[in-house]
Symmetry: C2
Subunit: 283 residues, 2 copies
Amino acid sequence: MKIHYECFACAANQCQKIVEIGTEDLGLRKRGIIEAAKLMGRINEDSIPAVFDSEVFLGVYRVIGNDDPFKDYKELSNRLAEKVVSDIEKEKMDLRTALKLAIVGNVIDFAVGYSPERIGEDVGAMLGEELYVDHSDELFDRLGKAKILLYLTDNCGEIYFDRLFIGKLKEAFPHLKIYVAGKEGPIINDATVEDLERAGFEEFARIISTGTRIVGVPLDRVSEEFREVFGRADLIIAKGQGNFETLSEIKDDRVFYLLRAKCRPIARELRVPQGSMVCMRAM
Amino acid sequence: MKIHYECFACAANQCQKIVEIGTEDLGLRKRGIIEAAKLMGRINEDSIPAVFDSEVFLGVYRVIGNDDPFKDYKELSNRLAEKVVSDIEKEKMDLRTALKLAIVGNVIDFAVGYSPERIGEDVGAMLGEELYVDHSDELFDRLGKAKILLYLTDNCGEIYFDRLFIGKLKEAFPHLKIYVAGKEGPIINDATVEDLERAGFEEFARIISTGTRIVGVPLDRVSEEFREVFGRADLIIAKGQGNFETLSEIKDDRVFYLLRAKCRPIARELRVPQGSMVCMRAM
């Protein structure tokens, strides 16, 4: 997905949050923002928001001297989500509900203004919502025939819902070899390989790094190891907007997107109402 | 005033509003925003927000092919404000209340998210608020000795409150020669000389143009005529944030600022709580 007109102000607002959360020093905040403005001046009509934004954010991190401004927020998200998931009755849960929970988990995204305290109360309400696009029958059908699944995670917090879903996938498709990918290092509130290790994904899957801190799956930046797994996978489950933004450019029919269309550009691109939850095969 | 860290995202959000209000065409909106990003990449730590933003906005106007995106909004503001002011009992109003009304009128600013429909109900509430800094005694005292007053307007709508105040000034200081300045052409919702003419300022004052569409009083951009009047004035009343942002750099003790500190940077600069109304002599 190439940038839409709303992506610029959204990135600028995220940069402001980054400097506010990243330093108390007004002078450093200002230097960070000036760096953001300079880097954002390089935008062009083919820029992919996830990639472009990540480069800007990492530039701001460097200038303000904080390599992980969302550290506390991410820890809070993980702690809260782990608790919410542990309170859920998992024994009799079917695969479809677990898939939906994995999408519901995608709302836990500080970067678009979500407060983690509301996780618990919102989960119940959202589970009652229908998926606006639901290709889960096809996904499960194809998972029955697949040997290798690559699961691309998105945010901290959310990963505890992913773990629940992946556990159910492993139960339903015990033959499946599952790889679960996280970022190489901190970028906004995305889950890193370290977060995945701490969340205990190795119980069901092999944890791998995308090899980059850039959000999503920028295929020209990922590691050789990741590219190799990406090439071998029979199916790819891509969580969240960042993975969609990067993968939608390559039109790979092994990909299923699981996400909530939080912003207008994503909703416009997917041709769904803003706020919709979807399980959608790549077009 | 030089930019604060919040000025970048604020300008980016204003650019988004400009393209949304200025064109329905998504492709044009995107081109307008890319132009905004490129122009904003030139920011530096000495940039003055009003000047820098105006250059960016005019660049966006050019790209989207709309030279006055706020035309309808400004007309609505003017119409509503004219009605509100005509409903006010002016006969027995004292000068101090008229001054306060002129500050209250400063909240009519679409660019920071104000809906003109709320003008009427808010005016009453705000008239009850105290000025956080009140140098009006000194202002009136000095007006008694002054020969020439230059009154720098800010936004459409607001100018009807300015006209009421200027009428009262003319009553109280009949010897005073008053110049009232507007912008040379459309820039966001700022009042142009044409708006001042339509509002009938010539009853009390001589209307002049700053000679530029740049917000505020950028002394390197104004016309020779304006510069001459600016030089001759004994006192200068500067309405709103844009005039403050440009004039605060030259530290001219003839200037009194009448404004509401709508944003954090202005509040921080003036050392007042955000939202305060002030009548403040230049420092």
